[in-house]
Amino acid sequence: MTRRIASLRGSAQQHRALNEPKYRSHITDQVYILDLSSTDLRQFDAVLVPCRTHFKKLAAASDQFAAYLENGGTVVSLGEQVQSWLPGVQWEFRPTNYWWWTEPNPDSGIRQALPDHSLFE
C-alpha cells in the first residue's frame, strides 16, 4: 500500500532536498510551515518534520500533532527540539563536534539503540 507522506517545508535547504527527484517521488505533499495550522493532517499516513523547522511554529502546533498521533498518525521528527512540541520527547543538549572523524581513534558517540529496526536494513 502506498503511504501518503507529507513533509513540512520552510527553509531553502528543505525546499532543495525535498525537490530532489530521489526524495520527491516519495513525498505526497509539502506543507509550508505557515499553512500547517490550516492543514488537516489526518489525510496523511505520516508527517516528516525536517530539522531547522521553526521551533516556535512547531510548539504552536503541539496540540495539532498530539491529536494527529492520537488518531493513529506517524510523525518522523528530525533535528533538535529545544522547545518541546512532540509528546514524550525531551531534548538533552550535547556539544557540537563535527570534526570527530579527524581525531585519533575517531568515535562519533552515536550508537544504534535498535539495530534491528527496518531503518537500518
Binding site: 527553509s11 531553502a12 532543495r16 505557515l34 531547522r52 521553526h54 579527524t102
Partner: protein, 163 residues
C-alpha cells in the same frame, strides 16, 4: 539590511516590491544563503556544485572587498580541518555584477550588484556572514568589517553613488 539564509523566502517573496523599494531608496542589502524564490533584485536560483573531493570546496578570493579585508581564503575553506561550511554552490550573477570569491572551479560564490537597482546588494551563496564570530581565526574580522562597510556604502549611496 542583513538577511539570513534561514529566512522564510515565501514570506520575503510576498514582500518583494517593498525590498525593491528599499534598494531604490539607495540602501544596502547583504544576503547569505540559497535563493529559491524571486524576491531579491538580480537574484537567481541557487545552483549546488557537484563535489568529488573536499578540495572542490576551496574558496578563492578573486578581488578585494572591504568585508573580507584581513581574511584568509584557507580559513574560510576549513573550520577545524573540515571543509564545506562557507559555500557549496553559487547563484549565477546578474549582468554587471562584480565577483569577489569563487569555489575551486570558478563558481562565483560572492558577488556585488549595483546595477539591478540604485542600491547595493552583496550576495554570499553560503553560511550567514554574521555567523563568523570566532575571534581566533581571520574570518572573525568579517562581522566588524561587514557592519562598517554597510555604513560606508549606505553613506556613499546617499551622497549620490560617487566613490
Amino acid at each position: 539590511m542583513i538577511i539570513s539564509g534561514h529566512s522564510d523566502q515565501e514570506f520575503l517573496a510576498s514582500h518583494a516590491s517593498r525590498i525593491r523599494e528599499f534598494l531604490t531608496a539607495g540602501k544596502v542589502i547583504q544576503f547569505s544563503g540559497q535563493l529559491f524564490r524571486r524576491w531579491l533584485p538580480g537574484g537567481s536560483t541557487f545552483v549546488a556544485v557537484d563535489i568529488d573531493t573536499y578540495l572542490d570546496y576551496s574558496v578563492r578570493i578573486v578581488a578585494a572587498h572591504p568585508v573580507f579585508e584581513g581574511v584568509e581564503a584557507a580559513d574560510l575553506t576549513f573550520r577545524r580541518r573540515v571543509a564545506g561550511f562557507f559555500a557549496r554552490g553559487y547563484h549565477p550573477p546578474p549582468p554587471g555584477a562584480q565577483i569577489f570569491m569563487t569555489l575551486a572551479s570558478g563558481e562565483p560564490i560572492v558577488y556585488q550588484d549595483t546595477i539591478s537597482t540604485s542600491g547595493t546588494i552583496l550576495v554570499h551563496a553560503g553560511t550567514d556572514l554574521l555567523s563568523y564570530v570566532s575571534p581566533e581565526t581571520s574570518p572573525g574580522k568579517i562581522v566588524p568589517n561587514l557592519l562598517e562597510w554597510i555604513r560606508d556604502e549606505h553613506e556613499r549611496l546617499q551622497r549620490g553613488g560617487d566613490s
